[in-house]
């Protein structure tokens, strides 16, 4: 079981809270640095923006465009092209967490453009699918739990 926290996210002047974790991506022999990831239970795919591809996948933007094509539409944004690559994603709750979970052979799509709110989204398709995501909403101490 993984356990993490919600972070304050400002959209305009209004703040809301969203569940964030820490993730690193492995593809072939390349393992990325650990970065922030939004656990987006409402998204269909695992997504990153193309300006993170070099760091997370170890590939140039041109190489990335040779991946499995898909057209996606993020909330309120025009449809963009995306390119899928099979990777392993290692997830943990916070920089202090000892527990990790590895999502092996999942499809990570690289959006040919920016993404709203966060540049790395872990979505349902081969990501959070089949897991129980529990949102503990306790005033200022919001936590999430992820269980198989």
């Amino acid at each position: 079981m993984l356990e993490g926290s919600f972070r304050r996210v400002y959209i305009g002047a209004d703040a809301t809270f969203m569940p964030f974790g820490r993730a690193r991506v492995t593809r072939g022999g390349h393992t990325s640095v650990e970065v922030d990831v939004l656990l987006d239970t409402g998204a269909s795919c695992n997504l990153i923006s193309i300006d993170s591809a070099s760091t997370l996948l170890g590939m140039t933007a041109d190489d990335v465009r040779g991946g499995k094509p898909l057209r996606i539409s993020a909330v309120g944004q025009p449809e963009v092209r995306a390119f899928g690559w099979q990777v392993d994603v290692e997830l943990r709750g916070t920089t202090q967490s000892e527990n990790t979970e590895v999502f092996r052979g999942v499809w990570l799509y690289v959006a040919d453009g920016g993404l709203p709110v966060a540049p790395f989204l872990l979505g349902q398709l081969t990501g959070l699918q089949g897991r129980a995501f529990i949102h503990l909403n306790q005033v200022a101490k919001r936590r999430w739990l992820l269980r198989r």
């Binding site: 972070r7 922030d36 916070t94 202090q96 709110v117 306790q138």
Partner: protein, 155 residues
């Protein structure tokens, strides 16, 4: 159980529920309604008492089993309640220096939508609009820092 048996035996001839009742029933109907009707009154009374004792003993066993089951269920409820509080009770996650810093800067408009590099004891060491750009800025020293993102509506 022996004490109970003794009490019942001493009273059965007077008690209409036992011997008295059996005798009265025999006088009124001329029929014992028992398989051992030819053996005699005392034996008939004893067989009734034995039957009742067997029934009482059986009920007692059933009740003991129910009470044991209740005790087990109570233990399980206490254990589940403890686990529920452990998982869902209000408590703070151990928050690292990096997460605390990110939370503190979340309200700063100039950092919203930025990728940031944080070093313990120093704070912000680099910031950029994209992750690849941030890593280029760090120029190979990204292993000593925590890389994060200050959420914002960037597209």
């Amino acid at each position: 159980m022996n004490r109970l048996k003794g009490l019942i035996k001493s009273d059965w001839t007077e008690d209409p529920c036992f011997g008295g009742g059996v005798e009265k029933h025999r006088e009124e109907s001329g029929d014992w309604h028992f398989p051992h009707s030819g053996i005699g009154e005392a034996n008939v009374g004893n067989s009734v008492v034995d039957a009742l004792l067997r029934e009482l003993s059986s009920r007692r066993r059933d009740e003991d089993a129910v009470y044991r089951r209740l005790d087990e269920l109570e233990d399980r409820v206490v254990e589940l309640d403890r686990k529920f509080r452990e998982f869902f009770g209000e408590r703070e996650l151990p928050s690292g220096e990096f997460e605390s810093w990110l939370e503190a800067v979340a309200g700063e408009a100039e950092l919203r939508g930025m990728h940031v590099a944080f070093k313990s004891g120093i704070g912000l060491v680099a910031a950029a609009r994209s992750l690849d750009e941030l890593v280029r800025k760090l120029d190979g020293s990204q292993n000593d820092v925590s890389i994060g993102y200050v959420p914002g509506p960037t597209v």
